[in-house]
């Protein structure tokens, strides 16, 4: 932020030049900044712990009686124990496996389907575009959680179904961004050049347009992953969380019973903290990346 040039006049309304500096959203500074790398570092720690969970020297997350019932956090159990005496530290790491998997598969699903549809719509335009765009519009006309509830209620809540369903929620935002980006690139010289050289539609889309579309989508992917992790937690409270294994959302649900909350608030607060930090890191990194890449604000309104 540019410092106040005059350095005086602290009591008045915002001055025009200051206001302008903050009103034009992506600031000129082309640096990702310390916060971005801090977020990445946190993500890296969580991912590594989650991946390596089976080989880490931690307790079995399902071993009841590792400690007493609702032991407070201490040296024996860093994050305390839950109502069944299971180690919360181990459970938080194992919960990360499910939560991250859901988030990852979901956004991957959204990127592949949404990216493909958006690319096709933006490249061919005309009736194809109109049909696909209406599809996106219809998808956005469902409140996200309600659509997920509808599908999971009928298909059951295996890890794959939950992840894929949450992926459907990100198809429309991702697709809209992909379409807009494709539109802005489709008439550029290098695309014309490729066409003149006799490239097929598929080749132009894959070799010329896709790399350009992928760049802004990377920022959206981080935000989408955060949304999917949170949405999975919301589903847990609707009784529709992943049925095989446990996620952070399910752990929070287990800790949220009034009696558990009274006697051992850490059972809920530990996974809440883990989820909060992860979502914060993903949001912040995604936001910084979006400003860095100068992506126009097209997608993920509300949620």
């Amino acid at each position: 932020m540019t410092p106040d040039p005059s350095g005086t006049d602290s009591g008045s309304l915002t001055k025009p030049e200051e206001a302008f500096a903050s009103a034009s959203a992506p600031r000129a500074r082309r640096r990702l900044g310390f916060g971005f790398w801090l977020s990445v570092a946190w993500m890296a720690v969580v991912v590594v712990l989650a991946v390596l969970a089976p080989w880490l020297p931690i307790a079995d997350p399902d071993e009841t009686g590792f400690g007493g019932r609702l032991d407070a956090p201490g040296w024996a159990a860093w994050f305390g124990t839950d109502t069944n005496g299971r180690d919360m530290f181990a459970r938080t790491i194992w919960g990360a496996r499910v939560s991250l998997t859901v988030g990852f598969i979901a956004i991957l699903n959204g990127l592949v389907i949404g990216g493909f549809l958006g690319l096709v719509a933006g490249y061919f335009r005309g009736p194809v575009d109109r049909i696909i765009s209406f599809g996106f519009f219809a998808l956005l006309s469902f409140p996200g959680l309600v659509l997920a509830l509808l599908i999971i209620a009928s298909l059951g809540s295996s890890l794959l179904v939950v992840s894929m369903t949450l992926g459907i929620l990100s198809i429309a935002p991702v697709g809209r961004l992909a379409r807009a980006t494709t539109l802005s690139f489709a008439e550029r010289e290098f695309v014309h050049a490729s066409r003149v050289l006799g490239a097929t539609h598929t080749r132009i889309m894959v070799r010329e347009l896709l790399p350009n579309v992928l760049i802004p989508m990377s920022a959206l992917a981080l935000l989408g992953m955060a949304l999917a992790i949170v949405a999975e937690g919301g589903l847990a409270f609707l009784g529709l969380s992943v049925s095989d294994g446990f996620s952070w959302g399910k752990m929070i649900l287990l800790g949220s019973a009034p009696r558990t909350l009274r006697d051992g608030p850490w059972v809920a607060l530990v996974p809440i903290g883990a989820m909060f930090l992860t979502v914060l890191a993903l949001n912040y990194a995604g936001d910084r990346l979006r400003q860095y890449l100068d992506v126009r604000e097209l997608a993920f309104g509300g949620g």
Binding site: S12, E18, L155, G255, S256, L261, L269, I272
Partner: protein
């Protein structure tokens, strides 16, 4: 009028698509007969009725009894017809105000929703009131001295607020205000409006705080933009106080974006209300849906989803139209 007609056509198209999606996915993916006849629906009744195999459901000694029950139920629910035909009938019923009957207690779905929906709506209203009541002063204070200490801290604060999932926020508030300090009742008290509102303070805050953060970000940006306008300079030159300028001249023209965001945040608010109802035991639509999902009460799930989705689509339509009156330029495109 051309604009309104086009928007109305789009509204109808979306409503048809959304209801078809809801109806289709529950009918194709789920087993709509499950609750009427139980698992036996999976028996191949065509073969049984043709005498090719024995009825293996074994619930009645007569052998073919179950399949006759199934046949009757299928006819009653028109499952012997093709999906588009059923959708047509179902849509006709809905237009006449008949959302079907609950499988479990034979209550009309309309009655169930009519009983639960007002509580959910009241919750959403309380959340919106909290959201706006917090966001407006907050945004004004932040924009008044943009990029100074308070503004920077509040930007970090709003970013943090948005990273707290609504169920986490609910549990944290519940823990402190209900479990630790016992300021608010732990269950929903439905005696009179005052008790209801008191029970809705915490759930309303749970949904209202992130809402306030979203509103604050939008409003702050708009306020800062408006503050650059010449008429603000003019007002200052005339010697008006900052407070007067802010609230009488700047705030009103800065409210436009809020209207758009209002439509966008409704989706999150609806999902949030369903979840928060579970935490604070509010007997609203969210709880009804969850119970219905557990019991596979197909008509209730479908009816609630249709009501929620329709409400959402209509709200966004209203926001679009409202916005076109505030800012007629948007009527030209789309």
């Amino acid at each position: 009028m051309g604009f309104l007609a086009r928007r109305l056509a789009a509204l109808l198209a979306v409503l048809l698509t959304v209801t078809a999606l809801a109806f289709g996915s529950l009918n194709v993916l789920g087993d709509p007969l499950f609750n009427v006849v139980g698992f036996v629906a999976s028996v191949d009744c065509d073969a049984v009725l043709a005498g090719e195999i024995q009825d293996v459901s074994g619930q009645t000694a007569g052998g073919r009894g179950d399949c006759e029950v199934i046949e009757a139920a299928r006819r009653e629910h028109r499952l012997d017809r093709s999906l588009p035909v059923r959708y047509g009938y179902w849509l006709g019923d809905i237009v006449r105000g008949d959302l079907g009957t609950s499988f479990k207690n034979e209550m009309p779905v309309r009655q169930v929703i009519g009983e639960k929906l007002p509580k959910t709506l009241l919750l959403m209203l309380v959340a919106e009131v909290f959201g706006l009541a917090i966001a407006v002063p907050w945004a004004v204070a932040a924009a008044y001295r943009a990029n100074r200490a308070f503004d920077r801290v509040s930007t970090v604060g709003s970013f943090g607020l948005l990273a707290i999932p609504n169920f986490a926020m609910g549990i944290i508030l519940f823990y402190f205000f209900v479990v630790r300090w016992q300021v608010f009742p732990s269950r929903f008290e439905d005696t009179d409006l005052l008790a209801r509102l008191k029970s809705l303070v915490l759930p309303g805050l749970t949904l209202g705080l992130p809402l306030a953060a979203t509103y604050q970000r939008v409003l702050r940006t708009d306020l800062i933009t408006t503050l650059q306008e010449d008429f603000v300079q003019m007002a200052r030159a005339k010697g008006m106080t900052d407070r007067w300028i802010m609230f009488r001249h700047v705030l009103r023209p800065s409210l436009f974006s809020l209207v758009t965001v209002f439509g966008l945040t409704t989706a999150g608010l609806i999902g949030g209300a369903l979840v928060v109802e579970q935490i604070f035991s509010i007997p609203g639509l969210g709880r009804a849906v969850v119970e219905a999902v557990i019991r596979d009460d197909f008509p209730i799930v479908l009816g609630s989803v249709v009501v929620i989705a329709t409400g959402f689509v209509v709200i966004n339509f209203a926001v679009d139209v409202l916005y076109s009156f505030i800012d007629p330029r948007v009527r030209r495109d789309a």
